[in-house]
């Protein structure tokens, strides 16, 4: 039995037979439906549609009822989208719902539904003059100000006022209102009554309904993998660096920022923690469909410089199901960033500009001059040495009467300002016609450094980070089925840094003694010590010259999309080509000035100087430049179609990538990094309730030998939308969503550790050199840097996960995901080969490492409107705990010294047991073999008492904590009341350690390690300064067991008291007020007259408060406190729309 649905010429309620071959019927819509013969049709209709076209809905009614449907194609164009949710309704009820507010009506004939236009019958029945009023709010219930409300197909319209209200006189009863607002989805609604309340979904919110997944988009409800989207409203921050802005914003991200220096402040950024102990832990970064994974490498990270204003959505692919198609690169998770695109309409301009100040979250406090001298004397006396500083000298310094001969300098205060300026602005324009749409954007970011320097010698050495972002995303509909897309993004960093690196400067600010020399002498001479006597940090930053760093990044993507419905419906394809260019060009001008040291005063009381350094007249010049380019080609065919209750989708793609380091230092680095892959996906859904998805990537990497280059990475996942089941109906009012999903699969990684490549080849490179002849001519040697090993293959990650999504009262959403990962075949350098084989010093790789990683991530969001107050609460948490399963380490004598079974980068050290009380205490305990101990020194536990009665290198063990946290979380709220809105966002990490014994503070050529923490360390003329925390110490007079510092000595990193131990292992957990903002929305007719639809003024702050048990420096810096701290910002800004 066959039923036909035919379209009819306007106002011709007759049945005509139409033949496919007739050109006249191009105007007509033809739908052919076949059904099994003999089937008896139920009269009960179930529909669940959101913004579906009337045609679609009618075709569903037709298939469920067995009725034929007749309509005129032109009428259907007038139909507005249908949102309907019905279970087991009668046909009449269903049709009433569907046609509610439609400019169309219907009649039921014998097994036939005839659709016709209302205009003829009803328009005549009602008076033309009608008025409609209403309120337009956003997803969170906040009134939207300045929303354009237009009557469709007319020029009449208005905009919403400051309360989001509008009033409009309608020309006719069936008028359709078009609500449009930049950043929000445009809505068309028929004005059926006197009031019409409208909720506009922001584009980002909208993308929650349709989620960006690997190589495509999926309806959120149909997603079976673990995919999280970032709420872009939370990304409105003045932080220039995207990876830092993401911390705590979405479940699954764990990020640790370890420097605040502008341009070099990108974080260690992971998805679901760390699963490998060799090679890269960074996720794959996809920007506009193209791999751009240079997150943590040079050029400031390819994606970190994208202005968040330009981003439409950020998706996080966390499990094997969502990442398997990335095969080679997906093991660490995938971050997909999609930039904004144009929308049809008049040009809409959005302007954001803000300015503010940046400062440090926490500045370490050092000893002042008097404390320094007294404590140094104490330390020397403790060691049986004579005091260095006489009482007279200390008194003279304390008096401050002669700051040139008896200086007392707080170097950190001298070098760093409390705050420095910050400005940024973004201007973007969207618009276009049906055929061409554009998104154009320009932004500027300018941050000035915190150094107390000035323009003294025709240059200002202060840090100045300037970034210019340009973006042009163009869409062109070449034909009805062909869409061209061109994305061009340029991110140009033009930064100036002082001649001394920020790390070295922090080192010096920590290290330099407060009493040796002043900053400058009264006649302007710069003070400085003799060689080996340290440096004057202020002089170094002021007079060492400067470096101009220009880092241009250009990213381009060209895509041709072709719908292939003519072949089979639901089929489409695209081809994509991308070319990225990255570069860095540094010009360095290095300076050296005269330095002087005053030794005393002459008879007249004038200072007597010695010149300690002879400067150079001109700044030196040197330059470096690096660059690379990445090319990417992809062809993609995908299919998505609904057959009754069955939804079937498929996708297959081919891609190639070629990354070339143009300025590589060696041959191996200069060989392009190539990858090639085929990937596919099949999705199947039944009644939107049972979902199944299979993904696979077959990817190749040049890193392996022929025959081993390719790996297959499959995954399978399924979902069950319980809330769509009929038995769930009684719970529906409470549970708006209940969905269960699970996945399992394999993902790969070809990025082996230590920057090594081609591990199957024995590689020869520079080794030790030899010298011969009378004058010792050197001859460069070559040796095996890497011993080739056969049969190497991919690192494979076996990932499983289950997820639960719950929606309550349409207000609260909870997503909980549990995951487990077993990383196998980790390519590690062999450690267990006996040295007698002679391979030490060369890399020997093997696929034998194994690591586990398990955890949970969850997010919660609550939205409500309580009277005039709009409220949004949100939070997320990620827990991940890894364990090294196999590491090829030599079988250690003591199990507690094995890294196997421990977590990634777990701290090792001794177990401290308080301070020695007195000599009998020392005598009664095992001898500590590091150096002679005295009362007040740290006691350690003997871990192998069965073998010896001494504390030595056999007594260190793993201490349970790592610098990488197990917990990462973020939570916040926003409230809107009338014109005000306020939001606060907290972020934190927990179960994380930092080893504050100074070993993390690397001398890096500036001096000894551990400066600032290890008291008075350093071999130079002046012992280093020390943190003021050293006041809290054990002394013979006050032998406190709870003192922070042990007995003072002039110490070094290898002293008994400063070994890595539980004494110095500090809790690095923190919570900080990461973002806070207070805003006010202005609306007035005056503004509207000048074309400004909306003006928003706000105050915002970043990292305003930090709560941590660790007080000495910002705990996020980790074990090294002597570096550029995390910054805090306070800004005032304005957003306007025209």
């Amino acid at each position: 039995m066959k039923f036909y649905l035919y379209g009819f010429p306007d106002r011709q309620p007759e049945i005509c037979k139409i033949f496919l071959s007739m050109k006249i019927f191009i105007l007509l819509f033809f739908l052919f439906i076949s059904q099994a013969s003999g089937k008896i049709f139920a009269q009960k209709i179930s529909l669940s549609e959101k913004n579906a076209s009337l045609e679609t809905v009618l075709s569903k009614i037709k298939s469920q009822s067995g009725y034929a449907v007749f309509f005129v194609y032109k009428d259907m164009q007038k139909a507005r989208p249908v949102t309907v949710s019905l279970q087991q309704a009668s046909l009449e009820t269903a049709l009433q719902h569907v046609f509610e507010g439609q400019p169309l009506t219907y009649t039921l004939e014998t097994r036939t539904i005839v659709v016709k236009s209302k205009t003829i019958t009803e328009r005549l029945e009602k008076p033309v003059q009608l008025q409609v009023t209403g309120k337009v709010v956003d997803h969170d219930g906040h009134p939207l100000v300045g929303v354009s409300v237009k009557i469709k197909e007319t020029n009449q319209g208005t905009v919403t006022d400051q309360q989001g209200d509008y009033t409009l006189v309608l020309p006719r009863a069936d008028a359709v209102l078009v609500f449009s607002y930049v950043g929000y989805e445009t809505k068309e609604l028929a004005a059926t009554g006197n009031t019409l309340q409208v909720t506009l979904e922001s584009v980002a919110q909208n993308l929650e309904d349709v989620v960006v997944v690997g190589y495509g988009v999926q309806k959120k409800i149909n997603v079976t993998g673990s995919v999280a989207s970032v709420n872009m409203a939370d990304m409105r921050t003045s932080v220039p660096n995207l990876s830092n802005a993401l911390a705590g914003k979405v479940a699954g991200i764990m990020s640790v920022q370890s420097s605040g220096e502008p341009g070099y402040d990108q974080a260690t950024f992971t998805i679901r923690g760390i699963s490998t102990f060799e090679g890269s832990v960074s996720p794959l970064i996809i920007v506009d469909g193209v791999q751009r994974d240079d997150v943590n490498s040079s050029y400031g990270g390819a994606f970190n410089n994208i202005d968040p204003e330009d981003i439409a959505s950020i998706s996080l692919l966390k499990d094997a199901s969502s990442t398997a198609m990335y095969g080679a690169k997906g093991a660490n998770g995938v971050l997909i960033i999609t930039t904004k695109r144009g929308a049809q309409g008049k040009p809409k301009i959005q302007l954001k500009t803000e300015t503010g100040r940046t400062g440090f979250t926490k500045t370490p406090k050092m000893l002042d001059g008097v404390q320094y001298m007294q404590l140094l004397n104490e330390a020397r006396v403790n060691m049986g040495l004579a005091p260095n500083y006489s009482e007279e000298r200390i008194l003279k310094t304390a008096s401050g009467l002669d700051p040139y001969l008896y200086p007392d300098v707080n170097w950190i205060d001298e070098v760093y300002k409390d705050h420095a300026a910050l400005t940024n602005a973004n201007l973007n324009i969207t618009g276009g016609s049906e055929a061409v749409r554009y998104y154009l954007s320009a932004s500027f970011y300018n941050q000035v450094g915190p150094y107390q320097v000035e323009n003294l010698a025709d240059y200002n050495p202060n840090l100045n980070f300037k970034r210019y972002d340009f973006r042009s995303n163009i869409d062109v509909n070449l034909t009805k089925t062909t869409l061209l897309q061109l994305n061009l993004g340029a991110m140009l960093v033009d930064a100036r840094y002082p001649g001394i690196s920020s790390g070295s400067l922090w080192y010096l600010s920590f290290a330099t003694t407060p009493v040796a020399f002043p900053t400058r002498y009264p006649d302007g001479r710069w003070a400085g010590p003799i060689t080996n006597g340290g440096n004057n940090p202020l002089n170094e930053v002021q007079n060492d010259g400067y470096t101009n760093e220009f880092r241009p990044t250009v990213q381009s993507v060209f895509t041709v999309n072709q719908k292939l419905d003519m072949l089979t419906e639901g089929l489409s394809a695209y081809a994509r080509f991308s070319f990225d260019s990255y570069g860095e060009f540094d010009n360095r001008r290095s300076g050296r000035n005269d330095l002087w040291l005053a030794n005393g005063r002459d008879a007249n009381g004038d200072l007597v100087y010695t010149q300690t350094r002879v400067g150079e007249q001109f700044l030196g010049y040197s330059r470096t430049s690096t660059g690379e380019r990445v090319m990417y080609v992809e062809g993609n065919v995908h299919y998505d179609h609904q057959f009754g209750d069955h939804q079937l989708g498929g996708m297959v793609l081919y891609n190639m990538r070629n990354r070339l380091l143009s300025t590589s230092d060696d041959v191996i680095g200069s060989i392009p990094y190539r990858n090639q892959s085929i990937a596919g996906r099949i999705t199947y859904g039944y009644k939107n309730t049972y979902l199944l998805e299979v993904n696979a990537g077959y990817t190749g990497s040049e890193n392996f030998e022929k025959g081993k280059k390719f790996g297959l990475f499959p995954s399978v996942s399924g979902g069950w939308v319980i809330s769509n089941e009929s038995f769930f109906k009684p719970f529906l009012p409470t549970f708006s969503l209940l969905k269960l999903r699970g996945s399992y699969g394999v993902v790969g990684n070809d990025n082996i550790g230590a920057g090594q490549r081609f591990p199957y080849l024995t590689q020869i490179g520079g080794g030790n050199s030899a010298g011969f002849g009378l004058n010792g001519t050197n001859y460069g040697g070559q040796t095996e840097q890497q011993i080739g090993v056969q049969d190497l293959t991919w690192e494979k990650s076996y990932k499983g996960g289950i997820g639960l999504e719950v929606g309550l009262f349409n207000k609260l959403n909870l997503i909980v995901d549990g995951f487990t990962e077993r990383r196998k075949n980790i390519l590690i350098a062999r450690q267990s080969i006996s040295s007698i084989a002679g391979y030490s010093g060369a890399f020997v790789f093997a696929n034998i490492g194994e690591m586990n990683n398990r955890g949970i991530d969850a997010s919660l969001e609550y939205n409500d409107q309580l009277g005039a107050v709009g409220l949004r609460l949100f939070g997320n948490v990620t827990y991940s705990r890894n364990k090294i399963v196999f590491n090829d380490e030599p079988a250690k004598k003591y199990a507690y010294q094995r890294s196997t079974g421990k977590r990634f980068a777990e701290f090792t050290g001794y177990i401290a047991d308080g301070f020695f009380v007195d000599q009998p205490d020392i005598d009664s305990r095992p001898q500590q073999k590091f150096n002679e101990v005295f009362p007040g020194d740290i006691r350690y536990l003997n871990l192998n008492p069965e073998d010896d009665d001494v504390i030595d290198a056999y007594d260190y063990t793993y201490l349970g904590k790592s610098w990488f946290p197990s917990w990462s979380y973020g939570a916040g709220f926003s409230v809107a009341f009338k014109h005000f809105d306020l939001s606060l966002f907290f972020q934190g990490i927990a179960d994380v350690g930092l080893m504050a014994n100074g070993l993390g503070i690397d001398g890096n050529g500036m001096g000894v390690n551990g400066v600032g923490i290890i008291p008075f360390s350093g071999n130079g003329q002046y012992p280093n300064n020390t943190l003021a925390a050293v006041e809290d110490r054990w002394t013979a007079d006050n032998p406190r067991q709870d003192a922070y510092y042990p007995r003072l000595t002039v110490a070094s990193t290898t002293d008994n008291n400063y070994l890595e131990s539980t004494h110095w292992l500090q809790d690095g957990s923190y919570i900080r007020l990461k973002q806070a903002s207070l805003g006010y929305t202005f609306t007035s007719d005056k503004l509207k007259k000048i074309g400004c639809e909306n003006l928003y003024l706000y105050l915002s702050g970043n990292n305003l408060l930090t709560f941590s048990k660790f007080k000495l420096w910002d705990p996020e810096l980790g074990s090294n406190g002597a570096k550029y701290p995390i910054t805090r910002m306070a800004t005032i800004g304005i957003r306007a729309q025209f």
């Binding site: 260095n388 191996i668 009378l774």
Partner: protein
């Protein structure tokens, strides 16, 4: 595009096979092996593990070592792996060089390089033997998948024999003298024989010859690793081995006459052995332009130009003879412990070349007056002008205001520029080391000229010979002859003229021979190994270290502060007999279950 997209082999990459296709690449592999020869310029042997030096820097490994604070996990100077890496490379080179076509590299060069590489293999084995004792004898390339638990250590005598075999094979393919100076730095026949002399002397010495402490030193299967009986014949072997080098007749002790000077100057003769580009006393050296000599001079130089790091002990200072060839404890020596000299050194050593009198100067403590020339070459004492400072300005740089007279006298006293009163890291013994420091250097500007690093020189071979011969034939005139050759170059009288009773008296002669070694080879790393092989390191004399009283506050009296010149105990070092051998790293034991640890560790 397509299937072979990824097959773009890194063909421009030098792989193991390609290494042996050009002469330059093959030679570069050999150079790498040469580069694995360690210059012990910064290790325990020179920085304070023996009684001649102490390191002023706290926390350095050598200070932990002498405090007994080390174990197999400490991995101090873990040279086990690096020597074996170099040994593996010698096998790779030896196997491949012969396969190269003659038109790329001549047969002659191939056999020369093979001989060199055999010498190098023997050299690395010798370094293992000296530091760790019996080693695992590896005689070919081992694969990655080898069962390393099957490789135990070889008995001591087998190790010695292996090194000797390699040295004999190498000597057969090497010339006695390189005809082209471009080859200086490569081993010669003499280099091979000299290593044999060193090995034989070690094998004959009490550490390995009848050492009852090592009688239970066995492999797990019971194989004894140490010869159980004393064998006097080993001294004969050692004497013969040293004599074999002497009999080559290609080496001679260097003097300043070799540099064209008219009159013999013991100071210059001895000092410039180390500072010439090349001389005939050198038996094996590393001729590499590198920064070892900068490091050495920086470490030795006093503050503020240098680090004051390697401090000579009073023990070694006292070992130097008086100019009359007598021990300072000898009543006839003329040594005066107290007071200050009122005139400059009449000998005027060094004046002819440097324009500066390098002996003592007016105002020096009497302790430093009339000492032998080698004392002034080796020891930087309080008030002695600094050497590595060529101009008046440079020298003034090292002086306090009161002493700024253009002479740059070093200030080790409490409040001096290098004193402990003003430096956390000031000189702790009151002495610095001057050997191998060049007057052409300017350490303030870190400018230091090139010189080869001498591993073996003739004076050592003479002393090896005298020592070994004295043990078997104390009456042999060669004992005195070769000892005296060394003394005479040092500018002191022959031994029999000063201490005639020593002649033919084995015990006394042994004392003077070892003293001569201590003085002549001071700060060259020999002292540590001599005390070790002689089982003398544990003696209280060598563990009780003295210094000047650098901690006494001079109250700004400076050089004339008499309280400074008081012998003061620096430290009683820790000693355990297990320290006669280095521990093998615990990591190595964990990787190879057949490996037994050295006794006591």
């Amino acid at each position: 595009m397509g299937c072979n997209y990824l097959d773009k082999q890194p063909d421009n990459l030098l792989t193991a096979d390609m290494l042996w296709q050009t002469r330059a690449n093959a030679e570069s592999y050999l150079y790498q092996i040469y580069g694995s020869i360690q210059l012990p310029a910064d290790d325990y042997t020179v920085l304070g593990a023996s009684d001649e030096t102490s390191c002023s820097v706290q926390g350095v490994n050598v200070r932990k070592m002498i405090a007994g604070n080390w174990n197999p996990q400490s991995d101090y100077w873990n040279n086990w792996g690096s020597n074996y890496s170099a040994i593996r490379q010698t096998f790779v080179f030896e196997e491949n060089i012969v396969k190269m076509p003659d038109d790329i590299i001549s047969q002659e060069l191939k056999s020369q390089y093979t001989a060199e590489v055999l010498f190098l293999r023997g050299w690395f084995c010798w370094k293992l033997l000296r530091q760790y004792g019996p080693f695992v004898k590896v005689t070919g390339l081992l694969s990655l998948n080898e069962d390393y638990n099957r490789y135990p250590r070889a008995p001591f005598d087998e190790c010695v024999a292996y090194i000797n075999t390699l040295m004999d094979q190498a000597a057969a393919g090497l010339p006695a003298v390189w005809s082209s100076s471009a080859n200086y730095g490569r081993p010669t026949k003499g280099s091979c024989l000299a290593v044999k002399s060193q090995v034989a002397l070690l094998a004959a010495s009490p550490l390995w010859n009848g050492n009852s402490r090592l009688s239970d030193f066995n492999n797990q299967d019971g194989t004894a690793l140490v010869p159980q009986q004393y064998d006097a014949q080993k001294w004969k072997t050692a004497a013969d081995a040293a004599k074999a080098v002497i009999d080559l007749n290609v080496y001679k002790l260097f003097t300043n006459l070799d540099e064209g000077d008219a009159t013999f100057d013991p100071y210059l003769s001895y000092r410039d052995v180390f500072l010439t580009n090349w001389n005939n006393e050198i038996i094996f050296s590393t001729n590499k332009t590198s920064d070892w000599y900068w490091g050495l001079e920086k470490r030795c130089a006093p503050a503020p130009g240098g680090y004051d790091m390697q401090n000579a002990t009073q023990n070694v200072v006292d070992a130097f003879y008086m100019r009359n060839g007598r021990d300072i404890k000898d009543d006839l020596s003329g040594y005066i412990e107290s007071g200050f000299v009122q005139h400059d050194d009449p000998a005027q050593w060094g004046l002819s070349k440097d324009g500066i009198n390098r002996g003592y100067i007016k105002g020096n403590a009497n302790m430093y007056v009339d000492r032998e020339a080698r004392f002034y070459v080796n020891i930087q004492y309080n008030g002695k002008p600094i050497l590595a400072a060529p101009t008046t300005d440079d020298r003034n740089f090292f002086s306090s205001d009161a002493n700024r007279d253009g002479r740059g006298r070093v200030e080790f006293y409490y409040s001096g520029k290098s004193g402990v009163g003003t430096n956390n890291n000031g000189d702790i013994t009151g002495y610095g080391v001057l050997k191998n420091v060049s007057p052409a250097s300017n350490i303030r500007l870190d400018a230091v000229p090139y010189r080869p690093f001498i591993h073996i020189r003739l004076a050592e071979i003479y002393l090896n010979y005298a020592e070994a011969l004295n043990e078997i034939e104390p009456g042999n005139p060669d004992v005195l002859k070769y000892l005296n050759l060394v003394r005479e170059r040092g500018g002191i009288p022959r031994l029999e003229e000063v201490y005639p009773s020593a002649v033919g008296n084995q015990g006394e002669m042994r004392k003077w021979i070892l003293r001569e070694r201590q003085v002549e080879l001071a700060f060259e790393g020999d002292r540590y190994f001599t005390l070790i092989r002689r089982l003398a390191m544990g003696d209280a004399d060598h563990q009780t270290i003295y210094r000047m009283n650098t901690n006494a506050n001079d109250n700004n009296q400076g050089f004339s502060f008499a309280g400074y010149y008081t012998r003061t105990l620096l430290q009683n070092r820790y000693w355990d007999d297990k320290m006669y051998l280095f521990p093998i790293s615990q990591n190595e034991l964990d990787r190879n279950s057949a490996l037994v640890q050295n006794p006591g560790w």
